[in-house]
């Protein structure tokens, strides 16, 4: 889901644009948090905190692209920190809470199972997978957002995909790769 950047927004971000920014990016920020935490109230609280941090940091942001990158980066780090701080137990597949909003297309059962599989991944690979497949970010952008080497991102992606394929295969038994 590539972000559109209007040319006139290449200058410094104005304070009055904050409300517009919240409306434009709320779905992106909330969805990253929701897919990562699988906890709707916690995801909303975290997303609100991200936008409040944006509100405090407006003067440091220079363009719409910069805002999008900044929001993804801050949301990703806050999600990982949130999980580590709370020291929540790893979500088992059976216990993973069901996200309130179902996928808009495709097999709803498979989408639900897939979100549960993603929720069962360790924190960093889970965020890598969410940024790759929700935000359609490239490996380099993910590496930049998560402050990690490119090779690590690629390794997380490969291993996570292999793990997910195995889980889907085991659960459903007929996935074509």
């Amino acid at each position: 889901m590539a972000e559109r950047t209007t040319p006139e927004q290449s200058g410094e971000i104005a304070e009055s644009d904050f409300a517009e920014m919240v409306r434009r990016h709320q779905s992106m920020v909330f969805s990253i948090a929701q897919h990562f935490l699988a906890d709707r109230p916690a995801a909303e609280e975290l997303a609100q905190d991200v936008f409040l941090q944006l509100h405090s940091s407006l003067a440091t942001l220079k363009s719409a692209e910069h805002v999008t990158f900044w929001l993804r980066k801050v949301t990703a780090h806050r999600c990982i920190d949130y999980k580590r701080r709370r020291k929540l137990p790893q979500v088992s597949l059976e216990d993973a809470p069901e996200p309130a909003a179902p996928a808009r297309s495709g097999d709803p059962f498979l989408a639900r199972r897939m979100r549960q599989f993603v929720a069962s991944l360790p924190e960093t690979p889970r965020m890598v997978v969410i940024l790759r497949y929700q935000e359609e970010m490239g490996a380099e952008d993910i590496a930049s957002a998560l402050d990690m080497p490119l090779a690590t991102v690629k390794s997380h992606l490969q291993r996570s995909l292999a793990m997910l394929r195995e889980k889907v295969t085991r659960a459903i038994g007929e996935v074509t790769i």
Partner: protein, 126 residues
């Protein structure tokens, strides 16, 4: 259930969801409660220098070293003052002891003189 591949399934499963109803309004209300205008972060401010983690640790180390040095200097001064006071007390005690010895010596001399004088008088009488 036939599916093309896991990557497509992931894309479908991880589609963006709409934020909860009224989310933006709640964010704007919280932002308004925190202050009428966003906190301006001055660029190239001298405070930015101290925002760097390395500088923060260096400043903390310098403050700790300064505190330790200050405590050390204070202890040295206190020990020196205590030493000076002890030295003065010792000198006073020696002076007192000296004067007492002087007094005892004069008493002994006086007694000796009296004895000698008594012996001479007795000899003269005999």
């Amino acid at each position: 259930m036939n599916h093309v591949d896991v990557e497509n399934d992931l894309k479908n499963a991880l589609r963006r969801e709409n934020a909860p109803e009224g989310f933006a309004d709640r964010v704007l209300a919280r932002a308004a409660n925190r202050g009428s205008s966003p906190k301006a972060v001055p660029r190239n401010s001298w405070l930015d220098f101290f925002a760097r983690p390395l500088v923060r640790w260096a400043a903390l180390a310098a403050i700790s070293a300064g505190t330790i040095f200050g405590v050390h200097v204070h202890n040295v001064r206190r020990q020196r003052a205590e030493g000076e006071a002890a030295k003065e007390r010792l000198i006073l005690a020696l002076r007192i002891a000296g004067s007492k010895l002087q007094l005892a010596k004069s008493k002994v001399n006086e007694i000796n003189a009296n004895q000698t004088h008594g012996d001479q008088s007795q000899e003269e009488k005999e």
